[in-house]
Symmetry: C2
Subunit: 209 residues, 2 copies
């Protein structure tokens, strides 16, 4: 059993990852504001003071996790955006991609869902800001869709907000339906129906009546 020689930066990056993972895992059964630096250190297998080599505080750790989580979310919407913007199956595909990512990035979604409402103020703001960015991107995507020519920029923003809100709620309920495939299936169907209802409303909408 020969130990591979590891560079200093590699070693540091490895413990940084371990810290992030530990925080993600620990905050699963409570929340970032309630976990202690020492709990994280113990879980990682380092001495408490070594934590400071990587982060100034638990809140700073939280901000790093927000960055990480939203980076993976961005790959998700890039996946949704790819392909033709045919209105026909856009609903099914979008919901499908979302559900897949909730499973693949379970810890990240759980973290965002929780800290969005209960995290330290800085973390909350960071998450709110990222979600707002999603809304804006969705608005420009919607603007490219046929049938939205008569829409005001404001109405596009409002519609995007509604859709993002519904999708966030869908992600949250799927997370809390873990281990009950029948419930999840129903939630997926609900999300699709809701998106269709909203789109029907959108298609029959006229701005500034």
């Amino acid at each position: 059993m020969v130990a591979e020689p590891i560079s200093r930066v590699q070693r540091k990056e490895r413990t940084r990852r371990a810290i992030l993972d530990a925080a993600l895992e620990l905050s699963d059964e409570s929340t970032l504001a309630a976990i202690s630096l020492r709990q994280v250190a113990k879980q990682v297998g380092i001495v408490p003071t070594a934590f400071y080599r990587h982060f100034d505080s638990i809140e700073a750790l939280g901000l790093a996790l927000v960055d990480e989580a939203f980076a993976s979310l961005r790959t998700m919407i890039r996946e949704i955006r790819r392909g033709d913007p045919a209105l026909a199956d856009i609903v099914d595909r979008s919901v499908g991609v979302l559900v897949d990512h909730v499973h693949e990035q379970r810890a990240h979604f759980l973290f965002i869902a929780r800290e969005r409402a209960a995290g330290p103020p800085g973390v909350r703001d960071a998450i709110r800001h990222q979600i707002e960015l999603f809304e804006r991107e969705l608005a420009t995507d919607l603007a490219r869709l046929p049938g939205t020519d008569s829409w005001s920029a404001e109405d596009l923003r409002v519609l995007s907000n509604l859709i993002v809100t519904a999708m966030v709620a869908t992600a949250e309920s799927i997370l809390s339906a873990a281990g009950r495939p029948d419930v999840e299936k129903q939630l997926v169907e609900q999300a699709r129906t809701q998106l269709r209802m909203v789109l029907v409303g959108a298609l029959n909408w006229q701005s500034k009546p």
Copy 2:
């Protein structure tokens, strides 16, 4: 300065209230899972061990707060329900009542919004259950509205879920827009527009196409 004689049950109830208020206030700037029994006791002005005369644990306190908060929410929807079910101004009135109550019961709404995602499991479940009850009530209300005769029970439930989700999100963003009346005004307008969009979708909807 003569002290009024106070009965024992009155005194106990008064302390209980003080504990509930203290917990509400303390969890404002963090979360229930992160506040300690001793913090609550200090804020109330009692010794830590006296806490146990009223609640078994912080979680039990949380459940009491959930009950209290939803009791006040119920008076709200009773207010919405009152009056003629004219579809014309139902949107404006509903949003108006919601916003008023968010201001009047700010602490309760904050508490629910936060603990819904980050509270102890028992508290989370209690909140989820209460919100589900709202959805069902809304569904029966919607069923009474003209134009929903052709709707399936399932679609009514799905639509109610969408509306409740949107209203919860509205309440949350109004809470985080505290002290910025211009932002709040925009949020209120957004909520109204969203409800109208959803209703337009609903009116043009036909179940099981």
